[in-house]
């Protein structure tokens, strides 16, 4: 094996002295070719690249990428789910607020109607009471008027008798003797009419 002193790098002994320097070995005695352009190593590199990269590709495609993709998808779903839940909770809270406000409005309306009803019924009661009192007063007034009228008629009736008596008395004093009762009554009646 041909190893030029210049190639005796620090690494060479560590890797083992039995190694073959293919690049140098090909051109023993001549100038060593530039390793990346040494076509004698191509077949080996292509084969091992195909094996390793092929296995790497299959491993990533079958195992690693589905796994990472799954992790990312689960996370995305979880975030979306959490957001949905948050939105749901928010809508629930909004509904609760709306229900509360509606109840409040209903209660207010109810309070108003109750107040109105109380006011109305009180007013109606007062009206009934007032009408009753008014009717009673009316009745009493009518009775009084009737009483007055009866008193007036009886009084008026008595006026005729008193006039007759007075006229008879006057006639008696004037002419002495008894006056004709019927004539006096007729005379008084004539005067009064």
């Amino acid at each position: 094996m041909f190893v030029t002193p210049g190639y005796a790098q620090e690494a060479a002994p560590a890797e083992g002295e039995t190694h073959t320097e293919t690049g140098a070995g090909h051109e023993a005695g001549g100038k060593p070719s530039f390793p990346p352009f040494d076509s004698s190593t191509f077949a080996s590199q292509i084969l091992w690249l195909a094996i390793t990269f092929g296995l790497f590709y299959l491993f990533l495609k079958k195992v690693v990428l589905p796994r990472i993709g799954g992790i990312l998808e689960v996370r995305r779903d979880r975030i979306a789910q959490d957001l949905d839940q948050a939105a749901l909770m928010k809508s629930e809270a909004d509904a609760a607020v709306a229900a509360y406000e509606q109840e409040l409005a209903e209660a207010k309306a109810k309070a108003n109607t109750i107040g109105q009803q109380a006011r109305d019924s009180a007013k109606a009661d007062a009206d009934v009471e007032r009408k009753k009192v008014e009717a009673a007063l009316e009745q009493k007034l009518g009775e009084a008027e009737a009483h007055i009228a009866s008193i007036k008629t009886s009084a008026m009736k008595e006026v005729g008798t008193i006039a007759e008596d007075t006229a008879a008395a006057i006639v008696q004093e004037l002419i002495g003797g008894k006056a004709d009762k019927a004539a006096v009554a007729a005379a008084v009646k004539a005067v009064r009419e």
């Binding site: 210049g6 293919t22 140098a24 990346p36 004698s40 080996s44 590199q45 091992w48 790497f56 495609k61």
Partner: protein
């Protein structure tokens, strides 16, 4: 002094295998391919094994790389492109981990060999061509005829488009290969200066501080390049796949 900057790219046979006159030996390159695949695969597998609803730090890394590549592919090729997601993600992770592993001292960088990057690029272009023709039939070749070009210019434009299409696997592979190769050579050269200068006595030791600082700085730069090249490779893959999905410009 043992500071030949090319030495790190040498391929050494660990288990010689020869089939039909071709050398299929298990080499240090093969070993680092296995290491790359094992490291990337195990990392992704183990960090996601708890399937945490709330990810830990390591699980976050796996998820971030998944979503990073997924959004890259979706932006470039639309949701139809997601059927290529396993391929793009494998390419990205393979190149990224290979580049990062290569930054460890004494480690072999598999992406610093043109044949490896060229094979990966051929995989991409091959997928584009095969899928494009399978899905669109002959109309896949409309890719080479942009709409709204005056009739007299069509042959010239088609020629340019064909050349540009054929140069894609070359540019894709050479970009990655050259970046990794140049970066590692630069690192090695500056690190070699440290070793060479420090043998020259007190003045040399003092003088070696500058290349040491440069080595540290370039190491940081190489970490950036390692990620950036994996990203560029994946982005270009996405864009080429977009051509296969939507050939009419």
């Amino acid at each position: 002094m043992a500071n030949d900057p090319i030495h790190q790219f040498h391929i050494t046979k660990w288990i010689p295998i020869e089939i039909g006159g071709l050398d299929f030996s298990f080499t240090n390159s093969s070993a680092f391919m296995v290491a790359t695949v094992a490291a990337a695969g195990l990392f992704l597998f183990l960090t996601t094994s708890s399937r945490g609803l709330i990810p830990g730090r390591l699980q976050s890394i796996s998820e971030m790389s998944y979503e990073f590549v997924a959004s890259m592919l979706r932006d470039a090729a639309g949701s139809q492109g997601m059927k290529f997601f396993p391929m793009v993600f494998s390419l990205f992770m393979f190149v990224l981990v290979a580049n990062l592993l290569g930054l460890f001292p004494y480690f072999f960088t598999i992406t610093s060999h043109i044949i490896v990057t060229f094979m990966l690029a051929l995989l991409v272009i091959g997928t584009v061509v095969v899928y494009g023709i399978m899905k669109h039939g002959f109309s896949f070749f409309k890719l080479f005829v942009p709409q709204g070009v005056p009739g007299i210019l069509v042959p010239l434009v088609v020629l340019i488009e064909v050349i540009s299409f054929l140069s894609r696997p070359i540019s894709l592979s050479v970009r990655l290969f050259a970046n990794m190769l140049a970066g590692h050579i630069t690192l090695k050269v500056f690190a070699g200066f440290v070793a060479s200068l420090s043998t020259l006595g007190a003045v040399g030791v003092a003088g070696s501080i500058l290349p040491l600082a440069m080595t540290v700085a370039i190491t940081a730069l190489e970490f950036l390049v390692a990620f950036l090249q994996a990203y560029v490779f994946a982005v270009l893959t996405c864009m080429y796949l977009n051509d296969a999905l939507h050939p009419s410009h």
